[in-house]
Symmetry: D2
Subunit: 191 residues, 4 copies
C-alpha cells in the first residue's frame, strides 16, 4: 500500500518532466488534502501529483487537467500502476475544461501555460472558503505573476517559499551532491 512520498523511480514517466518526491510531499501537505477532499490538479504532466493526491483522498476525488496526449497516457498508466480509481482525467488546456468541476477543497497548479491569472480566477470561482491553492513555479515570470495576482486579492492570504533539493548520489565510495532545479511553492488560503 502506498503512502505519501512515492519514490520518483516508481512512476512511469517517458520524457514528460516530473515533479520530484520532496516537492510532491510539500505540495500535497501544503494543499491540506484530507480523506474526503475534492482536488483539481492543473497541468498534471505525468500525474505524479494527482496520484499522490488521490491516495491521500480515498473518499474524495482528484480531477487531473492535462492537454498533452503523452501526459494523458502517462497519467492513465500511473493510475493503473498505483491502483488509483478516484482520479478523473480532463483532456483540456486550462482554464478550458474547468467549468465542469465541482466545488473544490484544494487546487494544485503545476503548469499554467502562461494563463495564470484566468486560471486563478476560475479556480477561485470553484474553491470553497477555507480551501487552498498550491502553485508550483519554475520560472521567474510565473512566480512574479502569481505574487502580483495574490497581492491584489484581499480575500486570500499567501505564503511562498523557494525550495532547492540536492540529492546525495551514491557513486562508488562517494556521495556526490547533485542539484534538482529549485521550485517556488506558493500556498494560498481563501478567507
Amino acid at each position: 500500500m502506498y503512502t505519501l512520498g512515492i519514490p520518483d523511480e516508481e512512476f512511469i514517466r517517458g520524457k514528460v518532466p516530473m515533479t520530484k518526491q520532496e516537492i510532491r510531499i510539500l505540495t500535497i501537505v501544503k494543499a491540506g488534502i484530507k480523506r474526503d477532499s475534492l482536488v483539481c490538479d492543473i497541468g498534471a504532466g505525468t500525474g505524479s501529483l494527482s496520484i499522490e493526491a488521490a491516495i491521500q483522498a480515498p473518499e474524495g476525488r482528484v480531477y487531473a487537467l492535462e492537454r498533452n496526449p503523452e501526459g494523458i497516457g502517462l497519467i492513465k498508466a500511473n493510475a493503473g500502476k498505483f491502483g488509483v480509481d478516484n482520479l478523473e482525467i480532463i483532456e483540456a488546456c486550462a482554464p478550458d475544461g474547468m467549468e465542469q468541476l465541482p466545488l473544490l477543497d484544494a487546487a494544485i497548479i503545476g503548469g499554467s501555460g502562461g494563463n495564470l491569472a484566468p486560471i486563478m480566477d476560475l479556480v477561485d470561482s470553484k474553491l470553497k472558503v477555507g480551501g487552498r491553492i498550491v502553485i508550483n513555479c519554475i520560472t521567474i515570470q510565473t512566480i512574479a505573476q502569481c505574487i502580483e495576482y495574490l497581492r491584489n486579492r484581499k480575500d486570500y492570504s499567501y505564503d511562498a517559499v523557494q525550495v532547492q533539493v540536492s540529492q546525495l548520489h551514491q557513486l562508488g565510495s562517494y556521495d556526490m551532491v547533485k542539484a534538482n532545479n529549485p521550485i517556488f511553492i506558493v500556498t494560498c488560503i481563501k478567507k
Copy 2:
C-alpha cells in the same frame, strides 16, 4: 484540528533552535509515520517534530528524548497547546534513556550531540524490520559520519538529500528571498 505542517509561528519556542515547517513535513513523511506508529524523537529540541509525529500517530506513541531543561519545558508547553497526549518526554542525553523504549516503527534524530554511532546502534536494536530512521544533519561532520555508518550497515538502505528553503518575506510591495539554513535529511530503512 491540526494536520501536518503546523506554521512555525504557532510553536512556543524561546531561544531553542526549531526545525522549520518544510523540513518537519519532509521528515515526518519520510519517516513513514502511520496512525498507530511508535516513534522516537532524539534531540527533540522544542518538540516541534515530536508534536507533528504525535498528531500523525493518534493511536501510536511518540517518545521525545531531550537533555536540555529549557527544551523539556517547551515540549511540555507545546504538547499542552496542541492537545497532544500520546507524547512521552524522556529527560536524558541519548543514547542514555533509550534502553527503556519499546520496539519502534520509526526514529527521528534531530540532534545527536556528537554521539551518532552509539545512538544509531541503540536505535537499530529498538527498530522493527521495515522501520525507518530519519536523521536531520546541520553540520558536515554529522552528515559524513551518518553516511559512513550507513555504508557499513548492509542491513539498511539509505537515501539522502540536502534541502535549502528560502522564504519569500513580504516587505511592503516586495517579496524578499530569505534563506533558511540548509539541512541534510537522511532516510534509512531496515531491511
Copy 3:
C-alpha cells in the same frame, strides 16, 4: 595591499546590509572592471562594492550613489580604511544625481529603491557601447522587472543567475552550514 575579495569582517558596516564577499567578487568580475574603468555604483550601501571596484580600477574612478546618511558615513569610513582615493560619493536617490556622471564603462546596481526602469534608462544614456551593467536583486519583483526591462531592449544581451552561498561556520569540532540569502545577479552588455 588589498586585492579583490576583501573579507566581510574588514569592512566597517553598522546596521546597513552589506553585499557578502562571494557576491562582491562575482559582481566586480562580471562587470568587467579594468585598471582604467569609470564605474558607477548605485545604491552603494556600506560602499563595499564601490571599494572593491575602486581597487580594481586604480587609474579609473568610481562614483558611489547613496541616499542614506548612515551609508554615506560608512562609505567615507571604508574609503579611508582601505586607502581608496578614486572614489567619489554622490549623495542622492537614483536616478537623481546621475546626470552629472561621465560616460561609464560599467554600472553596478545594488539598490534601486523601486525605480529600476528610470535608473536603467539613465544608466543606459551614460554607458559606453560594450559597457556592462550588473544588477544585484534580492526580491522577486526586482528580478522580474529587471528581466522584463532587458527583454524589451534589443540593444542589450543579458545573462542572469541566482547565487546562494552557505558558510561553513566553525563551531567547536563541527562545521555548521549557515545560509546567506540568495541573490540574483543579472549581467547585461550594451551591444
Copy 4:
C-alpha cells in the same frame, strides 16, 4: 583579450565535466593569483581553471596535473584557443608528478581522486608561506576529509563555503531557474 570569467560555452570540453564560470571566478579570486604567481592546478580536467589562472598570471606559470588522456587533449586545445603559453601540462595522477614543481604561490585542487591527504601534504611541501590552496569539493566525503585535514594543521587557517548557482535559462518569454550542482569551496592560507 580575455579577462577573468570566460563564458562556459567558449571552452572546448567534450564529455569531461567542467567547472562552471561562477565557481571558476570564485576559485581564482580566492586563490589570490597575481601577475607573477606560480600556480598548480591538480585534477585540471578540461583546463578551464588552468586557463583562467594562466591569464591572471601572465608573468607567472601554471602547472596543470591531469591523468586522463581526454583531459590532456582538451587542456592543450583550450590553451591553443585562448593563446595561453605560460601553462605546462603534467600527465600524472597526483600526488605523483608533483615532486618536480617549484615553490608555489597557489594551488587549486579540483579533483583529488580519493588521495586528498597525501596531495595536501605534497602541496604543503611546495607552498610558500602566505600561499593559498583552494579546494573544490563535489562530494560529502571530500569536503569532510578536507576539513578534517585542515583542523589538524595549526599552520593553516581555512574558510569554507558551499555555493549553489542556478542559471535563468531564457525559454521563449520565460526565464526558467535551472540549478548547477552545488560546490564546496575551501580556501586555506599557510601561516
